[in-house]
């Protein structure tokens, strides 16, 4: 389990670096944020692989993808409102704390975008100041079958964009291992 311990540490360090980069002079650096996101994704993939290999819980993880609180609208399905998304995630947030090594149910909770929706509910942004490019996507990225990697990029870049636009928003939850 050394690999998964190392993976978890790498993820936590990445998050710490991303968080502190918000207060860096000169603004959030896109290149650095992207690299940190990629490292987190790598580490998380490896962590998951190690977990599922160790505990043969592949079936459990699949069940949990259906419990997604964030859903990409497809075929005309309505978006969940931000408040319900936030509510859904708040319930799951205790599972997302690192160090909670036993809970499998958290395995796919991290596929709910912890950064994006949380920040959407807190964000107040006038239309005048927001360019279309910078409006964080209010949709979760995860579709069935799409690898979770996009979600991490999305959540971090939402985080990045928030840094560019408004005052820092405190980190709510941590992308973490189960």
């Amino acid at each position: 389990m050394e690999v998964s311990a190392e993976a978890k540490r790498i993820m936590v360090v990445a998050l710490g670096k991303l968080y502190s980069s918000r207060t860096q002079r000169g603004g959030v650096r896109l290149h650095r944020s992207l690299l940190l996101t990629l490292v987190m994704k790598s580490a998380r993939d490896i962590y998951h692989a190690a977990q599922t290999a160790a505990e043969s819980a592949a079936a459990v993880c699949e069940q949990h993808t259906e419990m997604e609180t964030c859903a990409e609208p497809s075929g005309g399905q309505e978006l969940q409102s931000p408040s319900s998304v936030a509510a859904g995630r708040t319930e799951t947030s205790p599972h997302l704390l690192p160090g909670d090594a036993d809970s499998h149910s958290g395995a796919d909770k991290e596929n709910t975008c912890p950064f994006g929706p949380a920040q959407h509910t807190r964000k107040r942004r006038g239309k005048a100041t927001a360019e279309p490019d910078f409006i964080p996507c209010k949709k979760a990225k995860l579709e069935c079958g799409i690898s979770p990697q996009q979600l991490h990029v999305s959540s971090v870049l939402d985080y990045v964009k928030c840094g560019e636009l408004g005052p820092p928003i405190p980190l709510q939850t941590v992308i973490a291992a189960c």
């Binding site: 002079r25 000169g26 992207l34 690299l35 490292v39 580490a43 996009q150 990029v153």
Partner: protein, 453 residues
């Protein structure tokens, strides 16, 4: 005219040695953040050497003419001009401070008595004119010497003002300010061989400017995805081809280089060539993406090759072959097993630059512990030297250094764990016509030269 003088690379060959020449900057241990050197660049003749620092200042050194008495003693570099290029700014819309740190300096080829350079911070590029004034006009008819105007009625005779010599004054004045064209942080500027245009690159876009026109630029590369969540790579460096004014390259955080031809279309989103080496699966780690990110790309003077620097290596590419580099040089392979620590202390994000010597036979790049490395492409030799105060006696020979990687450490070798990762050489420059190199430690500029024994 300086004789073109390309001896061997030095170090390995017994004929040629590298010597300490000068060191610039404060030599005390307390480093002010503003004094951190952020860019180093020789001009096209090598007579001028510019540095930019984190405090937004540019310092230009000029080489003294060769002394006629000492045939092989090249002139010293002394301060020629110092000016504040950029100031900190505040973007009120985004609530962001814009750093004054000079990211890059690029010289324009000299057209007249004055010198011109482009300097850039994260958001704004400026064209500076550096000119000399060594004469003053005296004997005006309508003004006194102190500048007060004379009463016209008191003027009874007319005289022609004469030019009298004065102490040399070097003036730097901003001639153009190219602003508001970059949403992201500018990482590169490059002057075109047409001497009329230049490019500036940020994380996602490259713009083409005309040196005379500041109120608009053309966007020639845009890799920003429609949906930022789909972002997978950023632009890390860009450069114009040294003699084909329609060609430029840009490197990415994914380790690829794209060569673009501006004749193909107005927006060069589709590359003409894509240079990419498949990753060695044996080397795969958590940090593979970080260390494959290219931090610098430089064309050879000939224009036939280009060189890229990633975290652990320098690669030379033949522009005619896209599938893999023709040469790969390991800068500090012993760090591969330390990547996790380097990630935690942030060193893995360091952006090292690289440079060619005048005839493209040697490439050079920096490392940690104030080491810098030279790779001789012809002789297949590599050398490691250290820029340190201990080696700062005039004309002292640079001893080659070695990092011990195995169990046994030989005398004079340094072990990987003893390396000082706070002492990093990110910026190096090689005189375009001579064997003089400028190596920047955190806040000092070392000048070394080599000569035949």
């Amino acid at each position: 005219n300086r004789a073109v003088f390309f001896a061997g690379p030095g170090g390995g060959s017994s004929d040629v040695q590298w010597y300490f020449s000068q060191v610039k900057g404060a030599m005390d241990d307390d480093v002010a953040e503003a004094d951190i050197i952020s860019t180093v660049e020789f001009n096209h003749s090598g007579e001028l050497l510019a540095t930019g620092d984190k405090g937004g200042r540019v310092v230009i050194f000029q080489q003294e003419p060769e002394s006629k008495n000492q045939a092989q003693c090249r002139g010293e570099y002394n301060v020629y001009s110092t000016f504040q290029s950029h100031e900190p700014e505040f973007d009120y819309l985004k609530s962001l401070e814009i750093e004054e740190k000079i990211n890059k300096i690029r010289w324009l080829p000299q057209k007249n008595a004055a010198q011109f350079l482009l300097s850039t911070n994260d958001k704004t590029i400026k064209l500076w004119k550096i000119s000399e004034r060594d004469k003053r006009a005296e004997g005006y008819n309508l003004k006194e010497e102190d500048g007060r105007y004379r009463d016209p009625n008191s003027v009874t005779t007319l005289r022609v003002p004469v030019l009298r010599p004065m102490d040399l004054m070097v003036e730097a004045s901003p001639r153009r300010v190219f602003a508001n064209a970059h949403t992201y942080h500018i990482n590169s500027i490059s002057v075109n061989s047409d001497h009329e245009t230049y490019l500036s690159a940020d994380d996602l876009r490259i713009n083409l400017w005309h040196l005379e026109i500041t109120d608009r630029s053309f966007n020639i590369v845009d890799i920003k995805p429609a949906n930022m969540e789909e972002l997978t790579e950023v632009i890390t460096a860009a450069e114009f081809h040294p003699n084909q004014c329609n060609t430029f390259v840009y490197s990415s955080s994914k380790g690829t280089i794209r060569l673009c031809d501006m004749r193909a279309s107005a927006l060069c989103d589709r590359h003409t060539k894509l240079f990419e080496e498949p990753e060695d699966p044996n080397n795969r780690s958590f940090f593979s993406e970080i260390i494959s990110s290219i931090s610098d790309v430089k064309f050879s003077h000939s224009g036939r090759y280009m060189m890229t620097r990633d975290y652990l290596s320098v690669k030379v590419w033949d522009l005619n072959m896209e599938t893999r580099p023709v040469e790969t040089y390991q800068v500090h392979e012993y760090l591969r097993s330390k990547l996790c620590s380097l990630y935690e202390n942030d060193c893995i994000f360091d952006k090292f630059e690289c440079c060619w010597n005048g005839n493209d036979s040697v490439v050079m790049t920096g490392s940690y512990n104030n080491f810098f490395r030279m790779f001789d492409r012809g002789y297949r030799q590599d050398m490691t030297f250290e820029a340190s105060r201990e080696n700062s006696k005039p004309q002292s020979v640079l001893k080659p250094r070695k990092v011990s990687t195995g169990g046994k450490r030989k005398k004079d070798e340094i072990s990987v764990d003893s390396l000082d990762f706070n002492k990093k050489i990110l910026h190096t420059a090689w005189h375009p016509l001579d064997n003089i190199i400028a190596v920047a430690t955190i806040n000092n500029l070392y000048i070394f030269e080599n000569k035949m024994n």
